[in-house]
Amino acid sequence: MKSFESKSNKQVFIEGIRDGFPIALGYLAVAFSLGIIARKSNFNPIQGFINSVLNHASAGEYAVYTVVAAGAGYVEMAIMTLVVNARYMLMSTALSQKFSSKTSMLHRILVGFTVTDELFAITIKRPGHIKPLYNYAAFLIAVLGWSFGTAFGIIAGELMPIRLVSAFSVALYGMFLACIMPEARNHRIVTVLIIISFILSFIASKASIFSGISSGTKTIILTVVIASVAAIIFPHPEVEDDD
């Protein structure tokens, strides 16, 4: 622990770049598929790039594109972003426990800004207190992959044959599956909730009483209802704390 804490800033920064690099490669490919979706919502490459830098969240940005495509309002945009990014509250809360008391508020805010599923995962795995420089390095390289990937997807989506567009358009859903299924494997209740979510989402997309509601609003309603009921009936066991 002693030697870990005394690593030089340069060393910490290089470690961040090293760990961020494979994440950046994955982001590049996934963001490309996000760019194809962004294109359908009439985003230009610069708008896609800015959105990816500011939001750097697959589900969050996907929500932006669906809300814009549906022509919904800013309030819906805000609520939707809040709901689909609610998991970052948990991650940010977990990280808040790992800061040294000496870390300044500015560093806390900046590290909070860098939270994504993958960066959270590599941060929480590191022993000792959070080294903000590590997170900045990993974020820097990862967000470059993410943002350029989005812009490329918007540009090249047009040039790509329809077969490839069709194939790439499922990359994002593949990523969503990769985020939820490992937890489903370990917790049966999560498996059940995912199946219920699939079924209710399918019904909501077909049932005529929901036809006047945008897909963004449907997602909000279904999420709040299903997660609330689950939280009441199956309060989460406190196992999540031991990571």
């Binding site: 945009m77 805010i109 939270v115 069709s166 859903y173 985020c179 489903a184 979510s197 989402s201 689950a230």
Partner: protein, 101 residues
């Protein structure tokens, strides 16, 4: 489409608040069992709702979308990386549509 930037800004501000607020506010774990449970379930439910049936409407053929869903689920179940799962889904759609479409 100038208001696209306002949408981006609204989402950017909200997602930044979501990320930053807990780090700055919470020095102790959240006590409420309900809120902890709710926040724990939210990502899985949201992502599941957003995945299906959207995945079968994204592709040229519904069958290839279903195949991508099944193979992606199996790959993710066995803890394959995010990148690999995404690639498998893409490959399954591409190959199956060579036959189906």
């Amino acid at each position: 489409m100038t208001n696209t930037y306002i949408y981006i800004l609204v989402a950017g501000i909200v997602s930044t608040i979501v990320r930053v607020l807990p780090v700055t506010l919470f020095t102790k774990p959240i006590k409420s069992r309900f809120i902890r449970s709710f926040l724990y379930y939210v990502p899985y439910v949201t992502l599941a709702v957003m995945t299906f049936p959207a995945i079968i409407d994204a592709t040229q053929s519904k069958i290839s979308g279903i195949l991508a869903l099944v193979s992606g689920t199996v790959a993710a179940w066995f803890n394959m990386s995010l990148f690999k799962v995404a690639c498998i889904c893409c490959a399954v759609v591409f190959i199956s549509e060579l036959i189906l479409v």
